[in-house]
Subunit: 172 residues, 2 copies
DNA sequence: TTATCATATATGACAAGTCCTATATTTGCA
DNA sequence: TGCAAATATAGGACTTGTCATATATGATAA
């Protein structure tokens, strides 16, 4: 769905090969949009077919690679999508299914699940905090927005940890 | 992935038809596991094929319907899954992609997106608060857990609203 | 009595994503 | 020089989920 637009977003800044795109995504939006390599190439092909992206084979360089450029139509599509107000899409949380049916396995086992998850959340929190510390609090719009996406992840894990503690307390 | 287990969870409490299952899910786990009707029927068929669920056609009732029961193997599979500690699975947030590339449309348009989302979050928050108020704070394990899954949703929207306000502030 | 709604199940077409595998080149290191 | 790792692209098989549609019956209200 939005992989198309994520790709257009990256290409709006600079032309990239599929390989570069993957690296760029892994390094920046991975925590809210993990991208599969095969899916990137397929989506890229689709964008080209739709006229939103142009390809240019480059072999004058060290390697032959396919540089992808956003076309004018691609940029228009991107900006259109960016400005559109889409309703919040539902997300699936397998973990909550476990909580919901946790009565079957008993409070002790449920607490073990919660504690394991808390551990993971703490690692994530530390990671986010580390990265957030490296981004200045104010700056140009792009900097503020990039920091905001990171803080979003941070706020969510923080809320998760709080919720886990609250739940652990209620289970005692 | 977990729809199988969600279904087994419901059937572990009481036999249900596909139709009843859908209603039960809509009324309880919808906010963390929205289930498509077609998907429910197909998964049910799959569970039967796998020997985790038994079907019994009932027509002595007002209508002919297919009652589904969890088998012993089904319950074993469910409890196994419930006890297994799975790593946190990544979620996709199209909205954060918009934030990430929001530089293209400018601060004013980005704020509009944030405000629209804030509105939706507030509605959700009120809904969750209303339901949470109807569940006693303490009780048996099942009650505590059901309340916990609800509070999870509430904590997340609360965090979201806080994050939006924080971001709006940073954008000024 | 007729229309409409809720009940009840099911299929087809499709989209998005995952996992695995294949292939070829090129760079760097030992 | 030879081998491993990184670069670079791509297809097949599959799973999960969505959307639209088909079909049939029982209940209820106009």
């Amino acid at each position: 769905m939005s992989l198309r637009h994520a790709i257009l977003g990256f290409l709006s800044a600079t032309p990239l090969s599929g390989y570069d795109l993957r690296k760029a995504m892994d390094a920046s939006v991975q925590h809210f949009w993990p991208a599969d390599q095969a899916q990137i190439y397929r989506t890229l092909a689709r964008l080209v077919a739709d006229g939103l992206v142009d390809v240019q084979e480059v072999d004058g360089d060290t390697r032959q690679r396919k540089l992808h450029f956003a076309t004018a139509a691609g940029l228009a599509e991107l900006d259109d999508w960016l400005r559109t107000i889409h309703p919040v899409e539902a997300s699936r949380e397998p973990f909550l299914i476990k909580m919901f049916f946790g009565g079957r396995i008993g409070a002790a086992d449920v607490c073990a699940l919660l504690l394991a998850r808390r551990g993971e959340a703490e690692v994530l929190r530390a990671t986010f905090q580390g990265i957030a510390a490296s981004i200045p609090e104010s700056g140009d719009l792009n900097t503020v927005l990039r920091r905001a996406t990171l803080l979003s992840g941070l706020r969510y894990v923080e809320a998760e940890i709080l919720w886990i503690d609250e739940t652990l307390e209620a289970l005692k």
